[in-house]
Symmetry: C2
Subunit: 500 residues, 2 copies
């Protein structure tokens, strides 16, 4: 049970992990970066020059007993801004170091000039260096108490007002929120809760409906499965059959030794609990592959080839093989993900669950408000059947953090499916992205619009333009810019009619 | 200084005091109440039968460390509800015992049948019996930490969802928020922040712009002054001249004794500080009279005649009198307010600042987020010149509560003047009401509409129909019902097109 639970939590965490690390190696500020395709890594990268700044924020926006402040980091790039006609594109930072996001959101750098925009990347409290209580921030539930989406949005609101008040000429510059994944949810929610601060939002791959029972809990794994199904004959069947094969082997000590050695695990499996952890790690690998099934070679925690699931699936053509042969193929498949360069001497089951603050913070958030029910049935998906078990989830949260999750708070606070009163939000989703199952993929009104990218994985549209982008993502980016221009035009027309 | 400060705070409190006590004596459930004009008190009163219920609410909606709940009281009247076509009218309780508001919001009882409505009156946390920590709720800043508008709105959201989930057939019943004064702000903010929960809001006499520098700080006292100016020749001049007269008398011990005896004060004035408190008390009296300058005899803390300022002004026709004669007239004037029935044996300077929880709660709120700058100049108003002094205000708050006010939080969180992205809110204001200066008195869009009642004092429109109502308030109530019907019609049309 422990191992399965672990997997369920890790799955949620993969939302972080991937976001944090996609393009991670490329992700350092590169003032020398070329603005044309680079034949070596095949990624187009616009120059990314920014300043790092800090703003004092109330630790608690919603109570007055805790009156101290902390320093929130934000990055700002003003080189393309034009007063009077320009805009501010405001990245609503999610669960990680903001420099990663700034360097992994090539779209914003690509459109900055076209939209005469100041780029701002705001770090989410409790991530990166924006720690309300320094190295005590994660010490207990009391110090973690101010980690929530509502507090983060309030930080963003205060920051935008500060920028408009302090950048000469920016007082009336319209602001558009942009974010991906959890950051995409924040962008959408920022527009919903603070429409006086942002004129619109681009919410990329934002699973705002992956809560409570707004979508079936099985959708997520079903989409992962579809990705493997589409990428190779019998690929998903091979994975589906692997679980029973592992279970059979894991039932004996010899089998556990064989698994440890075949998968070149850094720490050998010793118990059934270890085997459950092992299965969780495999499951997470398939999920991560689905999220980053990009059409070009890309680096993240490990470098990956273009369309990595197709590469993986080359090893998984025969689901009917005897256990050991099947699992040797499974090893070859995960080895693509963990050891594409061939440098890894062993594979580490805790590898994707890094000890970084980002991971800690997201665990806590998943144990409080970001409760996303997940389940699998082994039929419409390739995973072992696993019911959504809120009770166990809650117990685990209480044990780890001393808090109880509140699974219905997000729909109560942000509206669930009943959001038609809002306006000016683009919800973009990739058809390959398992998170699209909890996303908005149909227009709700003519100002709450859905953009679907059939060939897209997790917020492909927010990544830099590359020569390898499928047409659908190019179209999506054009459409997104079209909507943003429209909001800006409407804003300027209104301001012109009612000069301040 | 102390006395003046006290006055400034009390002025804010009068928002409570009046709301709490208007119609207070009538305000107990009267199952025998007649549904036609009652010649004795001249108030039309519809029958008011309701059930008293409680709901468990999280003490902290925005943090997870404090996971306990408290019991929030609400009152519910279902006798006029019709399934399928009906509505829920939801009173967003403000700073007092909810039974007072239920019994002082005759408008809702008057329209319940017409709108086939369930009436719900939700008590605001920290008021009435809805105390998060029982009798410790006000013991210190730690226990008061969860008293805020955002927490109150979250309570309301959770309560509406609970009602819809538990009243058979109410799942899809549309909800309209209604409130007056601070409750009116809450109604408007409820629609702004939770448009998925309420389809619209009637915000009566809601000074949502009485914050920061959204309106000039002098507007409030200037409107009070206008009320007196209009109600009798030289009336406001008499009051304006009274301050200097008091100052001259208060400078000697004999003068203080004379003032104490002439004004029949229960506790004689002994120091200059006492004299400042005395002036504060007088100022508050004029303010309260402006707020409740209703066109008919009404009972509240003390019974008052119809158009009480006209009665007061009969004593204030000659501003040029020598000090003692002028102040004897001032005494006659305030005596109308405090002793209309002639039963009071002495006048009590702390009388309007009752020790009730409501008052305590509002003081705290005024010292945290509900910071409403007020000032007077003695020229455009009849008060002693008094600058808005945030520093002193903040020091006083810290001394009394251990908290610091955050004057810009309300505009940051709720949008200030930039609220045009929202919809379906009626802002009604009375021309006589000093709070109208901070209210929305012009249409913002065609769904954010202003209703102005020139002859109205503080949320006259929310009171019961009476034969003495001026046409303007009858028109206002008709218009309000017209808009509410329109929201309900649109809701039912949408539900019909998209059946759930």
């Amino acid at each position: 049970m422990r191992g399965r639970k672990w997997w369920m939590v890790l799955t949620v965490v993969s939302l972080v992990a991937t976001l944090g690390y996609v393009e991670g190696v490329l992700g350092h500020p590169r003032l020398h970066a070329a603005s044309r395709p680079d034949p070596a890594n095949r990624i187009f990268q616009a120059p990314r020059e920014y300043h790092t700044c800090f703003i004092g924020q109330k630790i608690d926006h919603f109570g007055f007993y805790e009156n101290r402040t902390f320093k929130q980091r934000y990055l700002i790039a003003e080189q393309h801004w034009k007063r009077d006609v320009g805009s501010i594109l405001f990245y609503t930072g999610n669960e990680g170091d903001i420099t990663w996001f700034a360097n992994n959101t090539g779209f914003m750098w690509n459109v900055a000039e076209e939209l005469d925009a100041i780029l701002v990347f705001a770090e989410h409290r409790y991530y990166g260096v924006s720690l309300p209580f320094g190295n005590k921030s994660f010490s207990d539930a009391k110090h973690l108490n101010y980690l929530s989406s509502a507090q983060a949005l309030a930080d963003f609101a205060v920051l935008v007002q500060h920028l408009k008040a302090t950048i000469p000429g920016a007082q009336d510059t319209p602001v558009i929120a942009i974010g991906g994944s959890y950051g995409g949810m924040l962008a959408a929610w920022f527009r919903m809760k603070y429409p006086h601060i942002v004129i619109g939002a681009l919410a990329a791959s934002a699973p705002i409906w992956q809560f409570d029972s707004l979508v079936p809990c099985g959708t997520f794994y079903s989409i992962v499965t579809q990705d493997f199904k589409k990428s190779g004959n019998c690929c998903s069947e091979s994975i589906r059959n692997s679980w029973a094969a592992i279970n059979r082997l894991a039932s004996t000590e010899e089998g556990l030794r064989w698994l440890s050695s075949t998968f070149r695990l850094c720490t050998p499996l010793k118990t059934e609990t270890d085997a459950a952890t092992f299965k969780g790690w495999l499951g997470e690998t398939w999920v991560n592959l689905a999220m980053v099934d990009y059409p070009y070679k890309a680096d993240f925690l490990q470098p990956l080839p273009a369309w990595p699931i197709q590469v993986v699936c080359k090893y998984l053509k025969n689901p009917k093989l005897p256990d050991k042969l099947l699992l040797q193929n499974i090893f070859q498949a995960v080895n693509v993900y963990y050891n594409y360069t061939g440098h890894a001497s062993c594979l580490n089951l805790t590898q994707t669950a890094t000890k970084s603050l980002g991971i800690q913070g997201w665990y806590y958030q998943a144990c409080t408000e970001m409760v996303m029910p997940m389940c699998s049935d082994g039929v419409s998906d390739m995973f072992e059947p696993q019911k959504w078990d809120f009770h166990t989830y809650s117990e685990e949260c209480f044990k780890n953090w001393g808090v109880r999750p509140r699974p219905s708070w997000i729909p109560t606070f942000y509206g669930g499916k009943n959001i038609s009163a809002h306006s000016n939000i683009i919800f973009s989703n990739g058809g390959l992205d398992p998170w699209s199952g909890g996303g908005v993929t149909k227009n709700i009104t003519n100002t709450l619009v859905a953009v679907v990218i059939p060939e897209g994985a997790h917020h492909l549209d927010l990544r830099s333009n590359t020569p390898f982008d499928p047409d659908s993502v190019l179209q999506a980016r054009l459409l997104e810019v079209h909507y943003m221009r429209q909001w800006l035009r409407q804003y300027h027309q209104r301001s012109h009619r009612h000069p301040k």
